[in-house]
Symmetry: C2
Subunit: 253 residues, 2 copies
């Protein structure tokens, strides 16, 4: 299988490295910025280009991993190719690729950061395609990576994307708010790191509903009042404390 | 070192097992409920009792791991002992133990659940004591367990407790809210588990501020509006989405 990668960011890099390691041939890497294209191309023994005209017409797979609002524009230039064209976006419907012969979505549900290793074999891939044969191709890719595959249609993927914002973006922001609370009292963030990790580990088997702890769950009003008082100097955090505590209380009513 | 444990819940159990494994002798386990006392006592080769009158006067350490509002009552009955009396509460000041000869706080900053293994050697212990010699005893205990120790006074411990609510209780609740979003669209929670774990792993070295991702960070209004629209049927989650997104935006202004 010969692959062309369109894009050179975090998602493109993690996917291309995983597919290369799984024995796939990466033909070309395209990026608007040739130095970015070269960086990833070097990593996976591919040819770099910044010109969409130069993209091979004979690849088996075109993987578009660019910003959401550039997907339409990039895919427009792939019209006429016989290979399977997929995007990797959680927030973009399949139909942005309508007009191509074979198309699909190959969405790894994970948070990618530069230079942070990610275990892609433990990352769920959400697959969608315009035909059974296109879908089968995407399944062989997840099998090559060793990752679990889920059939998720465009409507479901939207829902999933919102849920992921709560589970990941918002959680990370709560970690940051905890950091700011500690900072005010000269306490190191190291104190919270094992707690954060254990909290995430606990829901790897159980449901969050079954492992909730804390004063809101126990409706321990004395402790909650103390906490609210302590946050007086941080009114935004104080309001958030009350909102989230009430939300927990309601859950267990 | 001979230890008496007062309490038989999650914290008591995890601590006694760790101290027993570190070669300490657990003399007695007291609990209001004799069957609970027996269960833990059996685990650590100790004698069980439900009568505070029967508690040995000659132990080196009395570890009080009961509900916060019972600490004063239990410690009252230990008046006159020469051994070091400590409580394990994040939300309770040191001075609840005033009146005893030697006293302190031995607070493991971790979330404990029944039958969930916890790596106590990776758990930060927050120590406070009425004297240098009492403090030194607590340090030998954390060394025996192999855990990091931090000197944290009662005011700082309060701050820490609030921060821990944000980092752990509230994060877990966000996982639950994500679960409810998925549930409405027949999507399995397994889809989010690797993302949740990776989000926690990312802040084990970096600061949350430096690894934030998502539409609010990018000020991607189109995506945020789509998400808000999608949450129309869940007004509480919709409001929370806007509150947390605004909080993220403000952080990076």
């Amino acid at each position: 299988m010969k692959i062309v990668c369109l894009g050179s960011g975090n998602v493109a890099t993690h996917l291309m490295v995983a597919l290369k390691n799984a024995g796939k041939e990466i033909l070309q890497v395209w990026s608007r910025d040739i130095s970015h294209a070269r960086k990833l191309a070097t990593l996976v023994d591919a040819v770099a280009t910044d010109n969409l005209e130069d993209v091979s017409k004979s690849a088996d797979l075109y993987l578009i991993a660019v910003k959401d609002d550039s997907i339409a524009q990039v895919s427009e230039r792939l019209k006429g190719v016989r290979g399977l064209v997929v995007h990797t976006s959680g927030a973009t419907a399949l139909d942005v690729l309508e007009g191509l012969d074979n198309f699909g979505v190959f969405y790894p549900l994970q948070t990618f950061s530069k230079s942070k290793p990610v275990d892609l074999s433990a990352t769920p891939f959400c697959l969608e395609a315009n035909s059974d044969s296109s879908y089968a191709v995407l399944q062989t890719l997840t099998q090559a990576i060793g990752a679990p595959a889920y059939q998720v249609d465009s409507a479901q993927r939207k829902t999933l994307h919102v849920a992921a914002v709560f589970a990941s973006n918002f959680s990370n922001h709560l970690y940051h708010l905890a950091y700011t609370i500690l900072e005010g009292d000269n306490l190191p963030f190291d104190l919270l790191r094992p707690l954060i990790l254990q909290t995430a580990l606990k829901v790897q088997r159980d449901l969050p509903l079954d492992v909730q702890t804390g004063p809101a769950l126990r409706d321990d009003r004395l402790t909650m009042q103390k906490h609210v008082d302590l946050l007086k100097a941080l009114p935004e955090l104080q309001a958030l404390y009350e909102t989230l505590s009430n939300s927990i209380k309601k859950t267990y009513l």
